[in-house]
């Protein structure tokens, strides 16, 4: 099946205010989609819907034609990522542990950390997540998502609050994931990121696909 997401007349309402209205939404396997639009146009809301963290007030959003929510095929990187009070190693491998995986954690950790541009993975593994800089946190959080090898990777302004080097590392990591066939939906204000990652653009706040 080639279709990942399919949605019709999706509406999300918070406290009586409509924050998102989309007549249709489609995402295919391997596709890259950029969500743009002004603040409050519903980019983050749509990402949460796509991550199945919440349900739309109206309409429906189907994953691969229906069935259960694909909690384990889709993952979302929050705009300001949250890391558990624990080591970097545990934060990156947490999703795999939750799936019951016990073998190959070290290899998965190293691969994910390399992907986000950490060369000295041994030194990073034992560090406390709270001792990291903002850019490092963002990259560790992304590594935790990449380690899951998701079918759909959702990113909420992944480079908006990090330093230049971290931003470059993040772009490289996401590009590699795209090349490997991962579907990516990302929200951004940043022209540079749009140029770097490309993909179809969905301008929110107008309610239609461009």
């Amino acid at each position: 099946m080639n279709l990942l997401y399919e949605g019709h007349n999706i509406q999300q309402i918070y406290a009586g205010v409509t924050v998102l209205a989309l007549t249709s939404f489609v995402l295919r396997r391997g596709e890259v989609l950029a969500l743009t639009g002004p603040n409050g146009s519903g980019k983050s809301t749509l990402l949460r819907l796509l991550a199945f963290l919440e349900r739309p007030a109206h309409g429906e959003l189907l994953w691969r034609g229906g069935g259960n929510a694909p909690r384990r095929d889709v993952t979302l990187l929050l705009q300001e990522p949250y890391l558990l009070r624990d080591s970097v190693y545990r934060n990156v491998t947490l999703g795999l542990l939750l799936r019951g995986q016990k073998k190959g954690l070290r290899e998965a950790f190293e691969a994910a950390m390399h992907a986000v541009g950490f060369d000295q993975t041994a030194g990073m593994a034992g560090r406390s997540s709270h001792a990291l800089s903002g850019g490092e946190k963002q990259r560790v959080a992304l590594a935790a998502r990449l380690a899951l090898r998701p079918k759909a990777l959702l990113l909420d302004e992944p480079t908006s609050s990090v330093d230049v080097q971290s931003a470059r590392a993040i772009v490289n990591a996401v590009r590699k994931a795209i090349d490997a066939g991962t579907s990516v939906v990302y929200a951004t204000h940043d022209r540079q990121l749009l140029d770097a990652l490309g993909g179809r653009e969905l301008a929110l706040g107008t309610g239609s696909l461009s």
Binding site: R48, T75, R99
Partner: protein
């Protein structure tokens, strides 16, 4: 000040030559406190988590009740439990009055609101991104609860130590439900109350110092655990 000099000297003596009565009082104190703490955590952690995490009608009211129970006078807890577990009470057939289990029931009720209210507060204060992150990494509902508690482990440890301190220093419940029976239900605090009522102030202060030492060791243990868990 004479009492303090006397108390310190006797405390030394007590620690050096542990007599059977003191050892028994320490054991009863630690044993009953530990059991009450375990029971309160076992009951209170799920309750507190639900109260802080789930949204349901009446939640605020339940929080209010739990917060009010934090001020439940220990003598009243003792009295209410007494009425239940006396031979003539509804639970009389179990013969719990003047036993350690009877005491543990009262102490559990004392510790429970601390666990419930404080955990609910800690869960409410926890960043909502924590929940979103755990969900988006694929946590099942059960994993979500366990990992949230793990994320709150320092708060939980703090709650445990607070509840421990409240129970271990409590005297009203221990006296009413335990009966201060030597070698059976006499705790450090009821022993102190007894020594005081008999005018043995020095001995009372000595026992108090030993109790403080125990509390110090428990807190030191927590600091060590915290340091190890921080990596």
């Amino acid at each position: 000040m004479n009492y303090f000099a006397q108390g310190f000297a006797k405390a030394w003596e007590l620690l050096l030559h542990m007599d059977a009565a003191t050892v028994s009082a320490i054991q009863v104190t630690l044993g009953s406190t530990f059991c009450a703490l375990c029971a309160a955590l076992l009951l209170g952690l799920p309750l507190g988590f639900a109260l802080g995490y789930c949204q349901f009608p009446g939640r605020r009211f339940l929080r209010l009740i739990s917060d009010t129970l934090l001020a439940f006078p220990t003598v009243l807890i003792g009295l209410v439990v007494y009425a239940f577990i006396t031979r003539r009470g509804p639970l009389g057939e179990f013969g719990l009055l003047f036993t350690v289990p009877g005491m543990v029931i009262g102490q559990t009720i004392l510790a429970l609101p601390i666990v419930v209210s404080w955990l609910a507060q800690a869960v409410e204060n926890l960043d909502r991104r924590c929940r979103q992150t755990l969900l988006t990494l694929g946590a099942t509902p059960r994993q979500l609860i366990l990992l949230t508690l793990r994320e709150l482990r320092f708060a939980v440890a703090m709650i445990g130590v607070t509840a421990f301190g409240r129970v271990v220093t409590e005297v009203g419940i221990a006296t009413m439900l335990g009966g201060n029976i030597r070698y059976a239900t006499r705790t450090m605090t009821t022993a102190i109350a007894l020594e005081t009522s008999q005018g043995e102030f020095g001995q009372g202060i000595a026992l108090g110092l030993v109790l403080l030492l125990i509390a110090f060791l428990v807190n030191a243990l927590l600091v060590i655990l915290k340091r190890r868990g921080r990596t």
